[in-house]
């Protein structure tokens, strides 16, 4: 409901209206009242919020089952007011597979960080997508291991300083940033693969559209939808939230360009 209103903002700005104010945005009821434990300015919370807005608008709160990872978002189930399971580190997509296979008519999503999905969980990630499991895989790429205190992730940038690459990531020693979404595109099981951001309003709007699509495709049993969000980790990056905006735009997006990587051909 609210959604319609503000998604049209871009066009509607400046049209004439009358006096009585109406609410055009508020915290979705699909979020619990528990305040987020995330660090100030963390993208996880924004993604949680958008995801739950989508669930609310589609009216699928009762049919949606989420899988939380091991990572800072391990507590996603405290905030998302839907049935959820907390998976072992890296296995969220295997857990989601287990759920979806026995409840094929429910909406199922996995939510994972880069260490979870692209390091320890690489095999599960690739085979879940290769099987074309009819789920949404949400991938929060903040280029670091947030929960454990800022260690290097497979997605960390060359030269990025982390607690396990204190002198900057050296490709010769530990390889290059892993663009796993690009690899997944090669798999027929991947129906829709897109990379989004949440550090500005436009990005949040686009992410929301992408998630709406993903659930729509899942309803149509199209296969795996993979939505990557290039996000931040102010604590791990040792920056203020505002500083992370610049870092994302100048450092991360050139390596992880925003946009659809694979769209349904028709």
């Amino acid at each position: 409901m609210n959604e319609k209103l503000y998604l049209e903002d871009e066009e509607n700005l400046g049209t004439q209206v009358d006096e009585t104010y109406e609410q055009v945005y508020c915290r979705p009821d699909t979020l619990t009242d528990v305040p987020f434990h995330y660090c100030p300015g963390c993208g996880h919370s924004v993604v949680h919020k958008v995801l739950m807005e989508v669930v609310q608008e589609l009216g699928i709160q009762e049919e949606t089952i989420g899988v939380a990872p091991v990572g800072c978002s391990v507590f996603a189930y405290h905030y998302m007011n839907i049935d959820m399971q907390e998976a072992a580190h890296g296995r969220a997509s295997a857990v989601a597979t287990g759920i979806k296979r026995v409840l094929p008519d429910k909406y199922v999503f996995s939510y994972q960080g880069d260490g979870d999905l692209a390091a320890i969980g690489t095999a599960e990630t690739i085979h879940t997508v290769n099987r074309g499991e009819n789920i949404l895989m949400l991938f929060i790429n903040n280029g670091i291991y947030g929960m454990t205190g800022g260690q290097m992730a497979p997605t960390s940038l060359i030269g990025q300083v982390t607690s396990t690459s204190p002198y900057g990531r050296d490709a010769a020693q530990v390889g290059n940033p892993l663009k796993i979404a690009d690899m997944l595109c090669l798999l027929p099981g991947a129906y829709y693969v897109t990379r989004q951001i949440v550090h500005n309003p436009g990005g949040v709007r686009k992410l929301k559209k992408a998630l709406l699509k993903a659930f729509e495709y899942q309803k149509q049993k199209k296969g795996t939808c993979f939505v990557e969000v290039v996000s931040n980790c102010p604590s791990g990056w040792k920056m203020t939230p505002v500083e992370t905006i610049k870092y994302i735009e100048e450092q991360m997006l050139p390596v992880y360009p925003v946009g659809d990587l694979k769209v349904p051909k028709n």
Partner: protein, 187 residues
């Protein structure tokens, strides 16, 4: 003076509570005492609060993790709420004035309020705010010598920051004074 002194330092991450606790432990070690320092660790830090427990003892220390303390040095409201009740009767609570919305209320412990931030502004250097608290603590519980604190500081700080030693020493002494004043006041 007890053979064993158990202190908890608590505040927001970034206020330097961990290094304050480590400094005391380090000084204790220099004076040949048994010491242990135990930080709170893990995701609860996401919430923004941090604390550590320092034990200085004449005998071998059993567990570094304990739930009641001789002294609590608290730098924010959540910490006061959480640890005021964890102080042993007759124990000591030192807190920072500007951050305390609801000051501690226990009557069976000694309570000292230090305007650390304000004083730091006077010396116009934020970094030493905690030294006032340390000074205050040592005035109340003379378990370690000033010199050892400074020596510990020398070891703890990288060479390039040794220029900060004097101002820290100043703050340390000032902290001791503040307690005396506070006392005369409360008296």
């Amino acid at each position: 003076m007890t053979k064993e002194h158990e202190i908890i330092f608590a505040g927001f991450g970034g206020q330097g509570v961990l290094s304050m606790g480590r400094l005391i432990a380090y000084a204790g070690m220099i004076e040949g005492k048994e010491v242990s320092w135990m930080p709170s660790y893990g995701p609860e830090m996401r919430g923004g609060t941090a604390n550590c427990i320092t034990i200085v003892s004449d005998s071998r220390i059993s567990s570094p993790m304990i739930s009641v303390f001789d002294t609590a040095i608290l730098l924010n409201q959540p910490s006061i709420d959480k640890f005021e009740k964890a102080i042993k009767p007759g124990g000591l609570l030192i807190y920072e004035q500007s951050t305390a919305v609801h000051p501690p209320t226990r009557t069976d412990i000694e309570i000292v309020c230090i305007a650390g931030n304000e004083e730091a502004d006077k010396l116009n250097t934020k970094q030493v705010a905690n030294m006032f608290m340390v000074g205050a603590f040592l005035e109340k519980r003379p378990i370690l010598k000033n010199e050892t604190i400074i020596e510990a500081l020398k070891k703890a700080l990288p060479e390039r920051r040794h220029n900060l030693i004097p101002v820290n020493e100043q703050a340390l002494l000032r902290g001791r004074e503040l307690v005396k004043l506070a006392d005369t006041v409360s008296a």
